[in-house]
Amino acid sequence: MSSNNISVRENKSIFKFILGELKPKGKIFTPFNIISVPVIILGLVLIVIRFWKGLGSITNLDQEFPWGLWIGFDVVTGVAFAGGAYVLTFMVYILKLDKYHSIVRITVLNGFLAYLFYAGALLLDLGRPWNVINPIIGNSFGVSSVLFLVAWHFMLYMIAELIEFSPAIAEWLGLDRLRKILKSLTIGAVIFGITLSTLHQAGLGALFLMASDKIHPLWYTEFIPVLFFISSIFAGLSMVIFEGSISSKVFSDQISHEDHKGHNGIILGLAKVCAVAMFVYLFAKLIVLIHGQQWELLSTKWGLWYLVEVVGFVLIPLLLFVYSVRNSNVFTVKVASLLTMIGIILNRLNISVIAFKWDMPNHYVPTWMEIEVTLCIIFIEIWVIRWVVNRMPVLRQHPKYSNH
């Protein structure tokens, strides 16, 4: 019963504890802070202008191009990159590949915050955001809409990821009993989360199915949902590799010696999964191309751009992943993951923005302000990640719960 007493005493001081944790840790004038703070402040000013004067005041969106960078990059690309969480929870909790256990928490945290901020970016893009509650409270269920499915899945998946991550919060606050309850929910949340991810990763692609006349035939196919799902696997894992190589430097004090040593094995393992998923993806792309009988389009200007995406940023990184695994070369894995991420950005932007109404004379190009707001959101997200990682047992293991 002694643990019970401790937790009661701890409950009283939790408020004080959180207040103390809110204070900054570490140096204030780091290069990252010096760059990110002005960007964030300017971004917030622009967001105020946007809600005051309307979307047209800071974006280049118009009647022909209703969706721009904020949807095409922040939401559609961002969610693909956040796919690492469902793939990794599948590997660790379903397939029981314990090797990857040490990176599960940081990946789920990244995924959760990505959804939180990209759903936030969606709010910026809504013309009438005060009505965002309508499809949730049930007074107007547009169940025939793919966006209805995507919106609900975003919301439910965020809850699932929060449950998956919540034991870390309980450990941080020292709430033993709550931690036990939350931990028992993990596997349910994982299964639910993987199911939701499958559907909304594909669903993001299905959003573009009705724009069949507007997207260049090399990118439009009825199989966009399937392609989006498959590519979210290696998009997410490439993000995990890329992000892991940064955080292992930035937060090196947080990572135990064993985890540091195991990290190369993890990276090479993920490279294998990426290679297989990319092979399946390329094969599917090829089938779609043959099925659509669009060979002759490849010799056009748009065909060249298509080949840049598919050969330059899918086939080449695929070969690089295979090479890296054969030679156990961690550096080339990182290069390959970076190329893969560029390929995902190209693919998502091609479908949503670049090859959308490709033949229009005055094609949409984002304003610097749209890019600036996007950067603002990314920087705020990094600030939150840094805050959490420096306080909660995300990368390090809590001494009390060494077997998380």
């Binding site: 009647q63 013309g127 547009g142 809409s145 033993d176 299964i191």
Partner: protein, 296 residues
């Protein structure tokens, strides 16, 4: 016979009731809602007076100009498009093989199976029982998915407003439910646009083509385009010469989305079952490493 008059009436009554009840329970369709209302535009009859534009602005409280100013022909220099403040425009097309200029009115096509309404996650964009597609501001969250989905690029958005509307022709829904014709139809001096039930107008369009074959191309735009629309066009020249897209799908544009949505329940049943199966299959071999931490 043991059947007296009273019992006989009871039996008849009960029998009538069982037959009648299902019909009585079923909501009766409102008068005139069995079939969508439609409008037929005849490009041979339109004289480009643009009175329909004036009537539309007037009806929908849009910024308007004096009635006489609509005689100004200089607006036809450029092909115009709808804006949030203009639900309909008339354009002039000078087509080589036709001696006279052709005037064409543009507005929402009111598709029979609309992509915009399928896109809408709040049912703000709605196909009414009467046929017109209307927009409801108290539901709309301004995501503009309807604009992305519409094959005719009809819905317009107020980018310069903090409280923006989605703007488009409503086929004067308010007038239709009161039994009146849409404002543009009422004002048209040449009956270039006529209003009626969909099948009646489709027959009328085909009758005109059949009786005067050299005055029309042998096709009704909207009969099959986008799965059928509730605005029809008949014209003396091919439709791609008067501002329409050339190879419009004859399938409703929301068709591929349906396939995706039908697959959702299957994934929702299959995935958790498979994942749970895999989890259990792996579970017994790793029981030790799944231990619950060291807090006990």
């Amino acid at each position: 016979m043991g059947l007296n008059r009273r019992d006989f009436l009871k039996t008849i009554g009960a029998a009538t009731a069982t037959v009648a009840t299902p019909r009585a329970l079923k909501a009766k369709p409102k008068p005139g809602t069995e079939e969508f209302y439609s409008i037929l535009f005849d490009a041979n009859l339109c004289i480009g007076c643009r009175k329909c534009e004036w009537a539309c602005n007037d009806q929908n409280d849009l910024p308007n100009q004096p009635f006489a100013s609509f005689d100004d022909k200089s607006v036809f220099e450029e092909e115009r498009n709808m804006t949030p403040d203009k639900y309909t425009v008339v354009n002039r097309y000078d087509v080589d093989e036709h001696d006279k200029p052709i005037y064409v009115k543009k507005q929402c096509m009111h598709c029979s199976q609309p992509a915009c309404a399928s896109a809408c996650l709040t049912e703000a964009m709605k196909k009414t029982e009467e046929g017109p597609i209307i927009w409801r501001g108290n539901k709309c969250m301004g995501c503009r998915f309807c604009m992305l989905s519409c094959p005719f690029d009809i819905p317009k958005f107020e980018y310069d407003s903090a409280n923006p509307r989605i703007a488009k022709c409503t086929m004067c829904y308010d007038r239709i439910v009161e039994g009146e014709k849409p404002a543009c139809v009422s004002i048209c001096p040449t009956e270039a646009i006529i209003f009626g039930k969909r099948s009646v107008l489709l027959d009328e369009a085909k009758r005109r083509i059949f009786t005067e074959p050299d005055k029309y191309v042998n096709s009704v735009f909207g009969d099959g385009e986008a799965g059928g629309t509730d605005w029809f066009y008949i014209s003396p020249v091919p439709f791609d010469k008067i501002g329409f897209k050339k190879d419009m799908s004859l399938e409703p544009y929301n068709e591929p989305t349906k396939g995706f949505l039908y697959s959702v329940p299957f994934v929702f049943i299959l995935w958790p079952a498979l994942l749970l199966g895999l989890y259990n299959a792996n579970n017994d071999k790793n029981q030790v490493s799944e231990g619950e931490g060291s807090n006990e």
